[in-house]
Each structure stands twice: as C-alpha cells, then as structure tokens.
C-alpha cells in the first residue's frame, strides 16, 4: 500500500512556522475542540443542520463550516462502546486468557463520504470542484474521533487517505495566509513606531536608519521576535526547547565531565 505523494508539490517557501515546534493552530479550528466532558465528538450521520456551504445533495452530511458554535452540533454520541474504559480493566491481572471475553462491540468510523478507506472527493464538490476546506474538516474530525475510539487495523479494510492529496494552495489559503497577515501586521506596527521613536529621539530618518548597523540589528531582532514569539507561552516554550535539544547531548558528555583534574581514581 504505497502512498503516492504525486499530488503534493512542496510550497515554494515553507510556511512561516518553525518546524521543530509542534504547531498549535490557533485558528478557526479551536472552538471545535472544546467539547463537553463526555468527550463526545461531533460527527457521523445525522447532522444538526445542513450547512449552506455544502452544495452536495446528500442530506446526511454533517455540517462543514467551522464558524458556528461547536456546542450546538453535538448531535449524538458516537456509536461505539468505549472499549478501553469498559473492558475488564485488569479484573484478572493475568493477560493469559485470549481476547474472547473482553470486548463485544468493535467501533468503526462511519460517514457517508468515507468510502473504502478514503474520502470520496466527489461528495465534497462545490461548484464542480472539491471543497478542500470541507475535506480538511472532515479528516480533522475523523482523527479526533479515532483518538478516543482507536480502531483495529485490518488488512481487508485498509486506510488509503493521506493529507498530501489536498493541494498545497488549499492549505496556504486557509491557514498560512491569515497567520501571515497577522504577523506582517504586527511587524508593520512595530516597525512604524520604532522608526518614529528613533527618529524623534535621534533625528535620524528612515533611510539613514537603514544604513546603520545597530538599527539593522534591531530590525533583525524584531523580525525574529515577531516570528517566534506569538503567544505569551512561546517564550517559555522556546527556552524549554533549547534545553531539550541539548539535553541528550549533555547526557552523553557526562562521562567526560566528571574528570577532576589530576586524579585517577581506581
């Protein structure tokens, strides 16, 4: 089952995310996540209401737009039985017995558009072209559902869908561009005010500031700051990341560190 990445062409420049920090998308997907304590997730067959966006005639489609409140959409609890919680939780500590008595119901993710282990793109069509935003949302929901109800992997029913089917510009348009707008806006505001401040304090105009090394350094620091520090927590995260990156190396070098000069202990 090889997954072809043929449809995916890498973006011309990587989006403005730092690759080693797991990305927390602080965008429109967020309200989607804060669901009730039961952890019931939103999906499956009967919809609370059909979305206007989805032109497809299927009446059973779940709402695809994310803007509406997530709370209203909790249509029904998932069909599954929570296996891990309800199985004979170590009732007899011995795992010597086979699986027979443990779980009765095997849950599977079901959706009318999920066919044969992948999303049927024809079901997502809007104006004759697939609505990629809807595909992304559907897949996000499926994965969230699977977090709570892990499925057994089976050879008869393989999963084929992989995110590279979705074209790169769909991702850009929806996730990169708004963020880029935000960051550029911040940078512009900082730039404008700093220029004004420096000009009023020193009388050096914009063009002369750009020729000055110190000012260029400040500019660099502000750009890096805007890119890396987007939320209050980011400062702490960056420090921890630096620590983590060097930790393993420190463990390796520990054996060399302990040498007290001049003594060879037996």
């Amino acid at each position: 089952m090889s997954v072809s990445m043929a449809l995916f062409s890498p973006p011309t420049h990587p989006p403005s995310f730092s690759p080693s920090i797991p990305l927390k998308p602080h965008l429109t997907l967020k309200p989607h996540l804060s669901l009730g304590p039961l952890k019931t997730s939103v999906f499956l067959l009967s919809a609370a209401r059909a979305s206007a966006d989805n032109g497809a005639g299927t009446s059973a489609s779940a709402a695809t737009a994310l803007e509406p409140d997530a709370d209203l959409k909790i249509s029904k609890p998932p069909k599954a039985v929570f296996q891990k919680d309800e199985s004979t939780a170590g009732a007899n500590g011995s795992l010597g017995a086979t699986e027979a008595g443990e779980v009765e119901v095997v849950s599977k993710f079901e959706d009318t558009r999920w066919i044969g282990g992948t999303w049927d793109l024809k079901k997502f069509e809007k104006d004759g072209k697939p609505d990629w935003d809807a595909v992304i949302d559907a897949e996000a929901r499926r994965r969230k559902w699977l977090q709570n109800n892990p499925e057994s992997s089976s050879n008869d029913d393989p999963i084929i869908f992989d995110t590279s089917i979705i074209p790169w510009w769909a991702w850009m348009k929806r996730f990169h561009l708004p963020e880029a707008e935000l960051l550029n806006g911040r940078a512009a505001m900082i730039g404008f005010f700093m220029t004004y401040l420096v000009d009023s304090l020193t009388g050096v105009g914009l063009v002369d500031q750009m020729n000055n090394f110190f000012c260029k350094t400040l500019l660099f620091i502000s750009v890096v700051g805007v890119l890396l520090i987007r939320k209050n927590e980011d400062l702490e995260n960056l420090k921890k990341l630096l620590e983590e990156t060097t930790f393993y190396d420190k463990q390796w070098q520990a054996t060399w560190q302990d040498e007290t000069p001049g003594s060879s202990r037996n």
């Binding site: 990445m5 995916f8 998308p25 086979t98 699986e99 969230k144 992997s153 084929i160 393993y248 037996n266």
Partner: protein, 446 residues
C-alpha cells in the same frame, strides 16, 4: 638535533599513543617515543573479568581472549534462558560478527508502519535481493557468541557476581570479583573489569556510575493459527499512536513459530498494561484466535550512564546505556561496544603484557566509541522528539515513510550503520516534505 628512539619492538605507531618529550640537557633535544607509559606486568598476562555473557560481554571476552589477555567471563543464567527482546539485528552485525545464517529464524523483508488513524505504509520496496532484517532468538544468538568466546580462550564461569571490590588507594591493587557458583562463594582478583551485565548492572553500582532513565518494554508471545501466521511470514509491524504508547511504538515481530506483540514506554510505566491492551485491540483481526504463551517485560536504558569508565572498569552494552532512541535498538551496539572495549584494552596493554589505566580505557574505547556513534544516537533522539510527541506528528511520520527516498535512506542507515550516500536535491525535497507533512498533520490533528 633530535633523536628518536624506539626502545620497544618495531611496530607502526598510530596517532593516539602518548608521546613524551624530555629535554635532557640544554643543547640537545631528544624525543623518546614509547608505545606506552604503563608498567609491564611481571611474568603474567593482564587479567580481565567480563561480567555478563550477552552480546556485549561475549564480544568483549572474545576480543580480549584473542588478544592475549587472560579473560574470565561470568554469566548467571543457563544458556537456554530466553531474553525478552525483539531479536532483530542489522546486516552489518551478521557481517562484522560472522553470524552463521542457520541461526536466523526469519528474514524480514517487509516492515509495515501503521499510524494512529491506521494509515499503513510498507517499508521494504527499496530492499535489494540480499537485504533483510534478521530475526533471531536471543538464546540462540547469545549461546553462539558465548561459545565462540570460550573457544578463543575465555574462561566461562557460571555464577552470579554479587559484588566488585573497588580498590580506592593504590593504582595497581586488583579488583576483587565476589561471586557465587555451585552454592559456594568465591572471589577472583583481576586487573580490569568490563561490566556487560545489562540494565540493572551490578558493576555500574559498584563503581557508582550513576543512574539512567529507563523505558519499560512489555511483550506477549502469541502463537497464531497457521493462516494468520502466514501473514507475518516475513513482515514485521510497527504501530504508533497514543493508544499504544505515549512516547514509543508498539510492535508485532515474527519469531520462530509465534509472534511477539508488545509495547514500551518511558513516562507512563504504570499504564503499560493498558497500552498492551491497546495494541492487542489494534491488531485484533490479525491475531484473533491466538494463544498467549509467554508474558515478559524488561527495562531498556534511554541514555548513557553519567559515568561509563572509572578506574579500570568499563561499562559496555545495556549497562552503559547504548540503546538508540526512536527504535530501541541495542544488540548491535552492545556487541560492537564490547568488541571495541576489548580491542582497546588489548591495544593499550600490548597484548596483555602491560597494566592499563583509566586514561587508556577512555582513549581507546570511550573516545573512539563516542566519535563513531554519537551522531547516530543524537539523530535518533531528534527523530524521537520530533515524531513521537503527538498523534499528529506520528501521522506525519507515517506519511513521510511512504516516500521511497526516505525508505532507502532509513534502511541503508539501519542495515549498515553508516550515513547513506544521499542526493542533495532529494535531501532538500525530503526536508520540505517533512515540514509540509508535520504542518498539515498538526493542522488536521487539531
């Protein structure tokens, strides 16, 4: 003018040997190069004790005995004791350690990695006809290595080592190994100790080497009905996901006539049974009808101990903590470190004729080892941190593994333990794909 004298026999000198310069009197500079500044042993050979006769200990003992050092190899378990272990070894180990092919139970040519959303990717398209991952039974491999060490001249002692007395003052006082054999206590004085006694190393405790964080690996051996076993004929599976392990992977590895289904974790050891249930659930259709024949667990070190060499005691293998992150591979590194340590001792002692010191061990063994493998270990640590952190990252990992270039690089690095020759342009593409996959999966994984 300078004169160079070689007081000892004429062998070629290699770089790391210590050189001494002395100014004998103001007008001439004479440089004496001696093979070693260590004291020659009067009328006897250097005596070494290797504690633990697994891959690390046996390789060390073999190197020591072949080099002329009087070696005692201690082992507490009978040769048939089965160790809980994946049992997979790379091709380079078969070549470097001359492992005969009749010991191999299975040649795995297909590896399947399955993401949290059950996206499955097959690794193995890029393998050449003679490439495979060898699966062996540990007891078979260990006994073979042990008897080979014995045939090279190591003295095998079946006994449990209870304590190592470390001399604290003089630099030539021997180490005393206390052990119990045949229900009686014995003691043996040796010059050098090689600790190859695994994750709960007693030698490490005696030299106060410090502790390390351990992962726990838990597995069940399950005998499958024949038609289900046929699926695993030469296929091994790796499962990732929060339901099977929060910071490692779960596996189904085929063994001689059954499969081993297991998982591991570092930070959630008390929940290991829940994770085991998780992996059983995930594999359910493929192991339905199987019978559990054995349950076993073992700690796996996560990083090297703070001290790996102290005095004339060196730690090798699991005792030292040479297990890669991300894949948890330890057999090859154990055997290789044992061999490098043994060879280092032989070289520093010139075939057992001279006493050695801590700095010899550090130079010949530790430095050489670190120089050779630290980047491998660092890279695996990076992979683990990036890709095992969350379900989204794991999905990205599986997606990336679908790429042929990634597969080829991975297998080359694993099978031959060398940085494979890569195409620069493909590397750049791979990095872009990595970033792309991670970004997309993080978005979709919300």
């Amino acid at each position: 003018m300078a004169t160079v004298t070689h007081p000892l026999h004429t062998t070629t000198f290699k770089l790391p040997l210590p050189l001494r310069t002395e100014i004998s009197h103001p007008h001439t500079l004479s440089i004496k190069a001696s093979l070693s500044t260590n004291a020659p042993l009067p009328g006897r050979k250097l005596r070494a004790a290797v504690i633990g006769a697994g891959p690390a200990g046996s390789s060390a003992a073999e190197a020591l005995a072949s080099g002329g050092v009087e070696t005692f190899l201690f082992e507490r378990s009978p040769p048939t004791a089965a160790k809980p272990c994946g049992g997979a070894i790379p091709l380079c180990m078969l070549h470097e350690f001359d492992i005969p092919s009749h010991l191999i139970d299975r040649q795995v040519t297909q590896m399947r990695i399955i993401s949290p959303s059950n996206l499955a990717v097959d690794f193995g398209k890029t393998l050449r006809a003679n490439e495979f991952i060898a699966m062996l039974r540990r007891e078979v491999l260990d006994s073979f290595l042990r008897s080979r060490a014995e045939s090279r001249g190591a003295n095998l002692v079946s006994g449990l080592v209870t304590d190592i007395e470390v001399p604290n003052t003089s630099s030539t006082a021997p180490y005393v190994v206390h052990y119990t054999a045949n229900n009686s206590r014995h003691a043996l004085s040796v010059d050098v100790v090689v600790g190859a006694d695994g994750a709960n190393s007693r030698v490490a405790k005696s030299i106060k080497a410090g502790n390390y964080a351990c992962a726990i690996a838990f597995q069940e051996r399950i005998k499958l009905p024949d038609e289900k076993m046929a699926y695993y004929e030469n296929m091994a599976e790796m499962y990732v996901g929060n339901d099977v392990s929060p910071d490692f992977y779960a596996w189904v590895f085929p063994k001689c006539d059954h499969v081993a289904v297991g998982t591991g974790t570092v930070r959630a050891k008390q929940d290991i049974k829940a994770y085991q249930r998780g992996i059983r659930e995930r594999v359910k259709p493929k192991i339905a009808g199987g019978k559990v024949i054995k349950v076993e667990a073992h700690p796996i070190p996560e990083h090297p101990r703070p001290i790996r060499v102290r005095g004339r005691v060196a730690l090798v293998g699991d005792a030292a903590g040479y297990v890669t992150k991300c894949s948890g591979e330890g057999i090859y590194f154990a055997a290789k470190s044992g061999r490098m340590c043994g060879e280092g001792i032989v070289k520093a002692s010139e075939g057992g004729d001279r006493m050695i010191e801590e700095k010899d061990l550090k130079r010949e063994y530790l430095k050489a080892w670190d120089a050779k493998y630290i980047s491998t270990f660092r890279f695996m640590d990076l992979l683990q941190r990036v890709f095992y952190g969350s379900n989204a990252a794991r999905e990205a990992l599986v997606e990336l593994c679908g790429d042929e270039y990634v597969q080829r690089m991975t297998f080359d690095s694993y099978l031959y333990k060398r940085l494979a020759e890569g195409d620069r342009w493909e590397d750049v593409k791979m990095v872009c794909n990595t970033i792309g996959s991670l970004t997309r999966c993080n978005i979709v994984g919300s």
